[in-house]
Subunit: 191 residues, 2 copies
DNA sequence: AGGCTCATGTAACCGGTTACATGATTAT
DNA sequence: ATAATCATGTAACCGGTTACATGAGCCT
């Protein structure tokens, strides 16, 4: 459901092609809403059928032709209505298959659980690295828009940072506990 | 996909009815994997068909009859195999319609965005309150199991705590920025 | 009588993923 | 040549949600 509103929200800033939307998702929304390009094109078709957006083919000489979509008044209303609903209780919900694996970690040897957590930690660091380039992307994208919008984009980036940092600190704590448990065992074995 | 493994994981601790599984989800796994009861019953049927679990009807005098499920050897293998795969890159992914609304917050008056964030903050506090009773539930559930498992359950609870606390701190920062922005405007309007 | 816990499902739907498929243009 | 970027889709599938539906037994 939210992909539709993500697209509407982007088109509310100005007309865009499906490809533009894909790029916009990759450089901003992806951090909290990953979207397949196939899904985006599918959704664009749906939104057009509903009359929330309309597309116009633009013939390009230097590049393949494209279809540029614009939001309609109905689409704007729909989008604003969604926004106005505010935060649902689901905002605090968090689905994670990884945490499920941690939950069942007792079924593996501690060393294996620790490895899993280390892998997670590495992934977090990688993610943090990728994220560090986003603020620049945001400035670029927002250059000729009201600076005012950028603040909100920054809010979501800040959330991402805090989230990942929290993940890393948590993983460290878990790994430490698992390692100290391992040392205890080793120590006793040596005795 | 993960619901299936959540169920397998629970049944790996011992036989349970669908109702038991629903309760177990509510008191532990729900924090990172919410499941509808209808979905659980559906999944149980699927898992039985695949031969990963099997159910036996238990006739009860004082209560409605129930069907108690046990994990099979194949099911155990499947579950262990899933566990052994470790953390996927998707572990760092985070889907949130709420953050999408924050991202598009510039389309609302700042006061409205602030309200949304305040609502979110309240929901977080509520969630924190609910979570504080979980450690006890975990101790209960784990009383006659190896204490060793409990550590991992605690890991996921810790994650939840850190996550929510992080949410609250972040929301506070955002709200403050929006309020200071509002003051500026008011100040200028007064001039 | 009414509400709670225990207990189990079905049917329709849909958001999203995966895999597949194509093709123009530009830069190296 | 060939890789990269630009550009757009289709088809099959499936995990999960929503709504609906039922009913026994216990407690007050």
């Amino acid at each position: 459901m939210s992909l539709a509103f993500g697209i509407l929200g982007l088109l509310n800033y100005g007309p865009m092609s499906g490809y533009d939307i894909i790029k916009a998702f990759e450089s901003s929304l992806q951090f909290f809403w990953h979207a397949q390009n196939s899904h985006i094109y599918l959704e664009l078709k749906k939104l057009e059928k509903k009359g929330y957006i309309f597309g116009e083919t633009v013939i390009q000489a230097d590049r393949p032709n494209k279809k540029v979509f614009s939001i309609t008044e109905t689409g704007k209303k729909e989008f604003m209505n969604w926004l106005a609903k505010g935060a649902g209780e689901d905002a605090t919900h968090f689905k994670s298959a990884f945490l499920m694996k941690v939950f069942f970690g007792g079924n593996m040897p501690p060393a294996q659980s620790a490895d899993m957590l280390r892998k997670f930690r590495t992934d977090c660091e990688t993610y943090l690295g990728k994220m560090s380039v986003t603020p620049k992307a945001i400035e670029n994208y927002g250059s000729n828009k009201e600076m005012y919008q950028i603040m909100y984009w920054q809010f979501t980036v800040d959330f991402g940072y805090g989230f990942i940092k929290n993940c890393i600190e948590w993983a460290d704590r878990c790994i430490q506990k698992l390692e100290s448990l391992d040392e205890q065992n080793t120590g006793e074995a040596v005795k």
